[in-house]
Amino acid sequence: MSMPAPRMTIPTQRVLRVLLENPTGEFYGVEIGGAAGLPSGTVHPILARLEGIGWLESRWEDIDPRIAGRPARRYYQLTSAGAESARSALARAYRSPKQTRFLPPLPGES
């Protein structure tokens, strides 16, 4: 059963594109924002929406803060169904020439 797609805003598309570059990888918020070219503190609403509909799952980093010298981070990963839904949603997303002007090219595009 397909999950309802979130509104495919440009930032949401960027975040999904970053996550789909490594569908099994785990990333924390700042990492995702940096890779997506978005301000680092602005991705959390997007991640929360995606996690809420089951496209993402998250977990605490498994470290000892005393040894690592920092608190554990929250890592996000695409679910298998979420990856499939994300690919479909990105493929369907409407992109006007005005909207795509600032988007990096998709893999395979020049």
Binding site: S40, G41, E51
Partner: protein
């Protein structure tokens, strides 16, 4: 692995890390109370580590600006993210009138051994015997 602990200058209340942490605390307060708030507070603080001082302040400012959209996203999602066993369990909040001690809905209850006592039907507070205070004219006790 090099340590990423930022040099927190406890004597300097305007140190960037403390400013950023303060902004994050305010941002977290805008989120739904309970496990959700705890989780995001921890998550936001953890993100500061490894950033330069200016980046920490900028990041925290952006988190503050997006706290309300984040709250909206969490509420719309039905807060499934609250099921985080590493955080404190969510406690239902008493009605505002109870929390402000303006009005309690006193009802007679009974202890296990059958002794009657008065308690608020909304928040569970035991009646001190002095009524409801400013809104006493509304009554509420069942006599």
């Amino acid at each position: 692995m090099s340590k990423e602990t930022p040099p927190v200058h406890r004597a300097d209340p305007w140190h960037p890390f403390l400013l950023a942490a303060g902004a994050i605390s305010v941002a977290a307060r805008l989120l739904p109370a309970g496990a959700i708030r705890d989780r995001y507070h921890r998550e936001f603080i953890a993100e500061l580590y490894g950033m330069s001082d200016p980046a920490q302040v900028k990041h925290a400012g952006q988190l503050l600006l997006t706290a309300l959209p984040l709250r909206t996203a969490l509420v719309k999602a039905g807060q499934p993210l609250a099921m985080d066993t590493s955080s404190a369990p969510q406690v239902p909040r008493a009605p505002l009138a109870c929390r402000l001690h303006l009005y309690h809905k006193w009802r007679t209850h009974f202890t296990e051994d059958g002794q009657p006592y008065k308690g608020c039907a909304k928040c569970g507070k035991d009646s001190p015997g002095g009524g409801n205070g400013p809104l006493d004219y509304l009554g509420g006790a069942d006599g």
